[in-house]
């Protein structure tokens, strides 16, 4: 469910609504940012900037264009990718090992109470290599269908259907 009423209040600059929106969307947004930067301090900085943009630009969001989830996701990915171009990021990422979100999840030993941690770990275990790449590019890095197709040397239509299979598997395990 999309919190339509909360979004409306947010657009009217209601501070309480903003706090509630933060509670709902901050942790997964933090996850997306972190999967790109792999640095807690930088990720926190970007998370701050993202939610300040959410507050400032809330009026620009329209249900007609897409999901509120997607709107914040776009802001977050763009802000995080901007950060990867900064000097601070380049200096700190000499010995970068984790390339995919999956690497982060595999290294993690504690998960938020908000999620089905066992389900997520089970999913990572059974995840096909192509799914790792598809989800990483399309969801975590924000590639377009065309960019993904080119990066993976995969036909456009195949990107769409293969990705659906990958997500279906996730939903199956999480029972969503």
């Amino acid at each position: 469910m999309q919190p339509t009423e909360l979004i409306l209040q947010l657009q009217q600059k209601n501070e309480k609504a903003f706090q509630r929106i933060y509670e709902l969307y901050s942790e997964n947004t933090f996850g997306v940012i972190y999967s790109i930067l792999k640095d807690e301090v930088l990720a926190e900085e970007v998370l701050q900037d993202v939610f300040i943009k959410v507050w400032d630009n809330a009026a620009r969001y329209s249900e007609k264009k897409g999901r509120f989830f997607t709107w914040i996701l776009n802001i977050a990915r763009n802000a995080a990718i901007d950060k990867t171009r900064s000097k601070v990021f380049k200096n700190s990422k000499q010995n970068q090992t984790a390339d995919y979100f999956v690497d982060i999840l595999e290294e993690k030993n504690s998960f938020s109470h908000k999620i089905d941690a066992i389900g997520i770990q089970k999913y990572i275990d059974v995840l096909e290599p192509v799914c790792k790449k598809l989800i990483d590019y399309l969801f975590f890095k924000g590639f377009t269908q065309k960019e993904t197709s080119e990066a993976l040397d995969m036909p456009l239509g195949t990107v769409k259907t293969r990705n659906r299979n990958c997500i279906n598997k996730l939903r199956e395990i999480l029972d969503v």
């Binding site: 901050s26 947004t29 701050q48 939610f51 897409g66 993690k108 999620i115």
Partner: protein, 266 residues
């Protein structure tokens, strides 16, 4: 539109990713407004992706919100998140203190009132005692007066008027002698108040030869309202006299200070 084929095409996942063009996205938005099954599918995809990305977060970024609030200059900085518990703990404490203070004030007021009431009770008690005393005095007076009256009415009582002498020409007294009870009632209402250090002394007299016998001094002349004194008289009196004597009385009457004298008619 065939919803099932539409869903199976995989376009909805790309829609949630934000991987579609603006035009394609608007078409999907419109489709999910019209088809509840498409909307349900989109929401399910969104939930699974929320879990996946939340799992990638190193920790819950709650403290970042405080920094955002500060940057945005939110007015209600104290209201949000942590301070809620602070407020919750404070209110009962404030109410508790207020109640204690109120109770204390109440106790003081009660204590004060209690003191006042006690004083009133004490005063009432004093007034009551005074009134009781007055009643007692009145009753005693009444009894005396009744006794005097009964004496006066008794036909067996001998009435002896005592006439004024040279010392005090205006003086007057009377003796009512009840021989049977050997009591002489001396009415001295007509005598002047004795000067300080002096008392009236009553004498029973035998005339031949003249022998005075003291019946007693009227020590409480000023205090006795009726001015009637009962004195014991076992003598065969032939006359009664009253003299003014020094305090404590004298052995024999001072004749120069004889105020009244009367002879018994037999």
């Amino acid at each position: 539109m065939d919803s099932k084929n539409y869903i199976d095409s995989g376009i909805l996942e790309l829609y949630v990713y934000g991987a579609l063009s603006e035009k394609e996205s608007m078409e999907v938005s419109q489709a999910l407004q019209q088809h509840p099954e498409i909307r349900a599918e989109v929401e399910a995809i969104e939930r699974s992706l929320t879990q996946l990305s939340t799992a990638a977060a190193p920790y819950q970024p709650d403290q970042v919100y405080q920094q955002i609030k500060t940057k945005l200059n939110f007015k209600d900085q104290e209201v949000a998140m942590i301070p809620i518990t602070r407020k919750r703990t404070n209110w009962p404490a404030y109410i508790g203190w207020a109640a204690s203070v109120a109770l204390l004030i109440g106790l003081f007021i009660q204590f004060d009132k209690n003191k006042e009431l006690r004083q009133e009770v004490v005063q009432s008690q004093i007034e009551k005692n005074l009134l009781e005393g007055k009643i007692q005095v009145a009753e005693e007076d009444l009894t005396k007066t009744k006794t005097i009256l009964s004496v006066l009415r008794n036909k067996d009582v001998i009435e002896v008027p005592l006439q004024a002498q040279q010392v005090a020409p205006e003086a007057y007294a009377a003796v009512y002698w009840d021989k049977e009870s050997q009591t002489a009632y001396i009415d001295v209402a007509g005598l002047p108040t004795p000067p300080p250090g002096k008392v009236y002394q009553v004498w029973s007299l035998k005339l031949d030869p003249l022998t005075p016998t003291s019946l007693g001094t009227l020590d409480s002349f000023n205090e006795e309202a009726t001015k009637v004194f009962a004195l014991n008289n076992a003598n065969e009196s032939e006359a009664f006299g009253i003299t003014l004597e020094p305090e404590g009385g004298s052995e024999s009457p001072t004749m120069e200070q004889l105020y009244t004298l009367g002879v018994v008619n037999s």
